[in-house]
């Protein structure tokens, strides 16, 4: 499933899509919230820094069939020159929330990868799995 981010309302759409998806796959209430919040951060970053891009959502599995949710956020925006610094958390020099946003996504999700090239764009892949007990 793909949500194109072009307008601010698309952030809310992305949130809603992920929320439904996580609920349908039996995620706990707080894991639903964590995944929804993570997508909110990723979609906003696209809207704010790249203007347009997309958030793709896919069902995935981990060892012994544990269902999970994979999010890939892509844009062809300006890219992030210093990924390590942005991920170190706290409010960065980037306007408002990019710093804590990406660092937060990494903390909220079980898997997190980022590839960014200045001038070419940014790709973030993150996954969260349904918890056992």
């Amino acid at each position: 499933m793909v949500v194109h981010i072009r307008r601010e309302q698309d952030i809310a759409t992305a949130r809603q899509v992920v929320k439904n998806f996580a609920q349908e796959n039996g995620f706990s209430l707080s894991d639903v919230t964590k995944a929804t919040t993570a997508v909110s951060e990723l979609a906003r970053n696209i809207y704010r820094y790249a203007g347009t891009g997309s958030v793709c959502l896919r069902r995935t599995t981990r060892d012994r069939g544990t269902p999970g949710l994979e999010i890939v956020a892509v844009d062809r925006g300006p890219g992030i020159p210093d990924v390590a610094r942005v991920l170190s958390g706290g409010f960065s020099t980037y306007e408002r929330s990019l710093g804590i946003g990406l660092a937060g996504v990494r903390r909220l999700m079980d898997e997190f990868e980022i590839r960014s090239e200045p001038g070419a764009g940014t790709l973030v892949r993150a996954a969260k799995y349904r918890r056992g007990f």
Partner: protein
Amino acid sequence: MVPTVRVAGCLLVPIQIDLDDATVERLQQQLLHEIEAERAQAVILDVSMVDVIDSYISYTISETASMARLMGCRTVLCGIRPHVALTLAQMGVRLRHVAFARDLEHALTLARGRLTGGTPGIAPPEPRIRS
């Protein structure tokens, strides 16, 4: 416009809509004006209906609280839902100059307390090692 209620010298703001970026920014402007007009002692944001608070929303709340504080007004965040609290804590979000209340009664108690140098923010969590 988010409707607000005046209670005991405080501005009570029940937030019952999905907080998107534009709404949050408008809310900030609105609250600052109302604090001045009402000479409110405190702003109580009731977020018990809010399902997602991401870093941008918490940043704006924190920013509004800092502005309110400079105007002599406290900010109390009331009724954060458990899963939202866990998410904020895991992200390591700092909410400066904000007090936290379980319910409205607690919020009013906190709202009428003395405005101090500021509520210490939440320390970012230590790095977690995931197994």
